[in-house]
């Protein structure tokens, strides 16, 4: 065991030395390799961060949301609708919700206004997300005024700031009292935006939804699990499509690696010839070359992955965000919570190291069977 380890260590030592002797050449390969890992890792890190962010947001949302449809379009819940649902077995709580989108002309961002009970947010005051407050330079106790739906300024006092842990959720959230909400949007009295139902038993959710759909044909139940599944699907699918496009890049890289490994310089050939003349076996040369490939692969993987991490979690993945986030960028800006998933890393490793290794095997063998007398003559 000990001698085996020593042997490998010496091989690595020799490999590093031989790599260092041809700096410019190996540096080119390393740079291209790192770039490839960087692109693929950014893609997968960003997709998995979006996935976990979506799951995080949805974890706190109600199991079933009921919307009313009029001619296939989402419409307000009229008075008496909530009561007409009656008692559905399995439903713990029914709540009519009031929320709206509001385009803030000053920041140009889309805000979400949501009415809360007076006990939480007193009339005349408001609760804001920290990012929004920071952008508008607001502190607790300050007064701000949005232009309401009649065009008049509507003054509200900042009661407190929201500090939920998910940026995506709270970035643009504004909570206010129901009376303020109705006055601000000139919302018809007794109407609501939708109905949220909480169902304790996850196995009952499907039944509850089908009962609701049967009892209220003009409604559309939306399940939380279904939304989660849809998000997973969308992000996986987008990632897969991008990856398929990038397969061309991976293939190009494999050809590049093949060429690099095949185009042995006269000096390298001589080196292998000498090694064999002093007693190295073909299998030793192959082993040395495999170590060389591993050293290059691992260095490129580590540095590419690190660069991707910085790109995604510090700079918000400017290169891939437009494709993965989709066209409806409602939120102005949000920092993603760094999340790394073992499966993603394994897959990524596979997509980069596997093609490289497969591509250099034949050239390695070609180099290793070189006859010493042929190159030294």
């Amino acid at each position: 065991m000990r001698s085996w380890l020593d042997r490998q260590l010496h091989l690595i030592d020799f490999t590093l030395g031989s790599l260092a002797r041809r700096k410019a050449r190996n540096f080119g390969l390393l740079a291209v390799y790192t770039l490839l890992v960087f692109a693929l890792a950014s893609l997968s890190l960003f997709a998995s961060a979006l996935r976990s962010e979506a799951a995080h947001v949805l974890a706190g949302s109600p199991e079933v949301v009921l919307q009313r449809l009029v001619a296939g379009r989402h419409d307000l819940i009229p008075p008496g609708y909530l009561e007409s649902i009656g008692r559905v077995r399995g439903v713990q709580k029914k709540e009519a919700r009031l929320w709206a989108y509001y385009r803030d002309p000053r920041s140009g961002s889309q805000l979400v206004f949501m009415a809360r009970p007076d006990a939480e947010v007193p009339v005349g005051s408001v609760m804001l997300g920290t990012r929004l407050a920071a952008a508008a330079k607001l502190n607790v106790g300050d007064t701000l005024a949005f232009a309401d739906y009649r065009g008049q300024p509507y003054p509200l006092r900042v009661a407190s700031l929201l500090t939920p842990d998910s940026e995506l959720q709270s970035a643009t959230l504004v909570l206010l009292a129901e009376a303020d909400f109705r006055a601000f949007f000139a919302y018809p009295a007794g109407h609501y935006t939708d109905i949220a139902l909480s169902v304790r038993n996850p196995l009952e959710v499907g039944n509850v939804a089908s009962k609701l759909a049967a009892a209220l044909p003009d409604s559309r139940p939306i399940l939380r699990d279904e939304m989660l599944r849809t998000y997973e699907h969308i992000f996986d699918w987008r990632e897969g499509i991008l990856l398929t496009v990038l397969v061309g890049v991976i293939l190009t890289f494999a050809i590049f690696a093949w060429e690099k490994a095949a185009g042995l310089s006269a000096e390298e050939k001589r080196e292998i010839g000498i090694l064999k003349a002093i007693g190295w076996e073909t299998s030793d040369v192959i082993r040395m070359k495999v170590w060389e490939g591993l050293v290059v692969s691992l260095t490129a993987f580590a540095s590419g992955f690190l660069a991707a991490w910085v790109h995604v979690f510090h700079f918000g993945a400017p290169l891939f965000a437009p494709v993965l986030k989709g066209w409806s960028v409602v939120y102005p800006e949000f920092a993603l919570f760094p999340a790394v998933d073992g499966l993603q890393v394994a897959t990524l490793f596979f997509f980069t190291v596997f093609p490289y290794t497969a591509a250099v095997l034949v050239p390695i063998w070609r180099a290793a069977i070189t006859d010493p007398d042929l190159v030294m003559r």
């Binding site: 996986d236 897969g240 990856l243 398929t244 073992g342 897959t347 290794t357 095997l361 290793a368």
Partner: protein, 335 residues
């Protein structure tokens, strides 16, 4: 459904394995027909040189297959959120009829790959390539297995439909159903415990025995003991270890233990188990060649090392399982 990074990776691995082995097949045939180490002909020289290439290629394919099993299970577990009714890998594998056959064939590929790698390793240590014929003969046998593996995975992954309502592990590993897994699940805990510890003791002891004695007979015995130990270990996981991990008297699933909720304890159990079983089987398989003159010195050494690995794998698995059982709050057997 095919546009999933991990699925693309798995299919690619399976396809590349088939392609590489298919490329090696003509060479394997000519080795079987023309190989003659005593000859100094040019043909023999070419063959000798080529074996380096194909040994390296096939070693690479086999090494990838070892990792693929892990990726396959990991991926199946992760996909469970996408299917109605699936809670763990069982649900995902049950989405269509190809899931479990694909997993079982992938496991077969795993063990055969390790055995092949061990034979290749021993062959490389000898001066006169004594196992070249056996190696390439086995390769030709492995090719159909890898083709089957690719075909099953392709059928399985292309048949994944998100709207299928699948069944979860609760129904497959329940005590009432009339399946083999149900038979295993309904083993009485005390009997299961005895069977498990007896089987593991034999497996560990066989490994240690062969490590010390290096004999042909105890090596062959280790191969059998490791294979049997693997089956007994899985029986133990289904019949009682999983219950203790879940702290639930009726949940027998061997896949849920892979999940985050259980701190990935499944991986901690399965990695040493699969490693130990594969090493033991490889040591057993090597005994077929123990009489080859040029291997007299090297083969027992390699086989003893494999035996030690096997014993250590089974021992680690048993200790971990015992630790999970002892630390569990579930009481199955009242003393």
């Amino acid at each position: 459904m095919l546009f999933q990074p991990a699925i693309i990776a798995l299919l690619l691995a399976a396809a590349v394995a088939v392609l590489m082995l298919a490329a090696a097949a003509p060479f394997a045939l000519s080795v079987l027909r023309e190989w003659d180490i005593g000859s100094g002909s040019e043909r023999q020289l070419v063959l000798e040189r080529r074996t380096y290439l194909f040994s390296t290629l096939v070693s690479f394919v086999m090494a990838i297959q070892l990792a693929t099993l892990l990726l396959f299970v990991f991926n199946a577990d992760r996909l469970a959120v996408m299917f109605v009714g699936a809670m763990c890998a069982v649900g995902t594998l049950n989405v269509n009829a190809w899931g479990f056959p694909a997993l079982i064939v992938q496991m077969l590929v795993f063990f055969s790959a390790l055995v092949w790698l061990a034979i290749n390793h021993v062959d490389n240590l000898a001066r006169d390539y004594p196992l070249v014929r056996a190696k390439y003969g086995l390769l030709l046998l492995l090719l159909p297995l890898l083709m089957l593996n690719f075909w099953l995975q392709y059928r399985y992954f292309s048949g994944l439909r998100a709207n299928v309502i699948t069944s979860c592990c609760g129904s497959l590993f329940s005590e009432e159903a009339e399946t083999l897994t149900a038979e295993v699940s309904s083993l009485e805990p005390r009997a299961a415990l005895w069977l498990f510890y007896a089987g593991m003791s034999v497996a560990v002891a066989s490994g240690l025995l062969h490590w010390r004695r290096r004999g042909r007979l105890d090596g062959g015995w280790l191969g059998i003991a490791a294979a049997a130990g693997f089956v007994i270990a899985l029986t133990g996981v289904i019949s009682f270890i999983s219950l203790y991990i879940y702290e639930h008297p009726h949940h027998h699933c061997p896949f849920c233990i892979l999940k985050t909720e259980y701190d990935y304890r499944g991986y901690a159990l399965y990695l040493p188990l699969f490693g130990g079983a594969a090493a033991g089987m490889a040591a057993g398989a090597l005994q077929f060649f123990a009489a080859v003159p040029s291997l007299r010195a090297v083969l027992p050494r390699v086989s003893a090392r494999l035996a030690l690995l096997s014993g250590a794998g089974f021992l680690m698995f048993t200790l971990l399982a015992t630790w999970f059982v002892v630390n569990s709050k579930l009481i199955l057997i009242e003393s």
